[in-house]
């Protein structure tokens, strides 16, 4: 059973995704923003982080920089699951993948629950 940290600012979407992940056998903690996510990771290191880039006050990229600044958290796999279309990140895909350790970039409106669950299974099978 993997520990997932779900960083999703919309409460209703967070509930839907969390329930689906739980049904798939994972333990899920949700955070609406970057600060709460850091606190949650501090309380228990997650096996995988699912991250929306559009957050309030601090962006998902800022969160990733902070996350990777701690030695213990440098290797936690991250799935970016976001409303930001991939085309808008063309210039910084290298940054996301190479520097910030993002393992998968999923555009939320085009990503089914099945796909998200499959990616989660794949990444947690490697890490747990």
């Amino acid at each position: 059973m993997a520990q997932i940290l779900l960083i999703e600012p919309d409460r209703r979407l967070a509930e839907t995704y969390a329930q689906a992940l739980q049904t798939d056998g994972h333990r899920v903690r949700s955070a609406a923003g970057a600060q709460a996510a850091i606190s949650a990771a501090d309380a228990a290191t997650p096996d995988l982080i699912i991250l929306e880039l559009q957050l309030v006050e601090h962006s998902g990229i800022e969160f990733l920089y902070e996350l990777r600044s701690y030695t213990d958290w440098q290797h936690i796999p991250v799935i970016v699951h976001t409303q930001v279309p991939p085309g808008e990140f063309d210039g910084s895909r290298g940054l996301l993948e190479d520097e910030l350790g993002v393992r998968s970039y999923l555009y939320k409106p085009r990503t089914s629950l099945r796909r998200l669950l499959a990616e989660t299974r794949q990444l947690t099978a490697v890490t747990t």
Binding site: P9, D10, R11, R12, L13, E15, T16, Y17, Q19, A20, T23, A31, A32, G33, Q35, A36, E52, Q54, L55, V56, E57, Q83, V84, E88, K108, P109, S112, L113, R114, L117
Partner: protein, 236 residues
Amino acid sequence: MAQKTTPVLSQQLLLSVAEELKLPLLQIAREAERGELGGQTDVQSIRVAADSALRLLDNYALGVRLALEPAAELMPESVSVSSILYDTGQQLDALAKSYGVALELNIGGRFGPVLAHRQGLQAALVSLGAALIEALPAQDSPQLKLQLATHRSRYGIVAGLYANTKLLSNEALRRGRALQHRSRQPLLDLTHTSGAGIFVADAILQAMRLNLRASRHHRLYGLGTVLQPSKQIQLV
């Protein structure tokens, strides 16, 4: 008085509404898919999300119609602000419950009628309230509260929505209007979305020559608009 403009017709606002609509549609699509995968679909959640999308479209369309109306058609009438706030609360109740926001009505003061276009003012407050309810839970603040309230200021009667967490300053609102077409999150301090509900409220109020402004009510932070008292005697 705000200048008469036609911001509701702008492509920026349309883009903002289109972006915002993705959220309730995503909620519906993923919740339905969860049911297909063997989970128990939350039918009420789907209904609230669909209502949310319909409300945004409806208010946007009303804003466009108001902006296209000749000024004579937008003559304000004498209306009870308390009754408009009460109706607004009724319309937002299910959404507030689904987002875990405590919605309160504070219309204790004795205010006479105000001059306003009833349908427009109601739609602006509902649009604003829905946007705030959806935005507040991302603030990492416990026990979120949103109050529909009215008070007297030296400029007139202020009607608005107030929260127990910081919302937007006038400067952030002005910056947000300017950033609407350049940023995916023009109201970054408040919401993770395009903020379309707030911009639609802003556009409706502008079409009625009113302003959306930051406002305080007791110890709460809010957004509201100043209305002029009506000279008409209120019949009780």
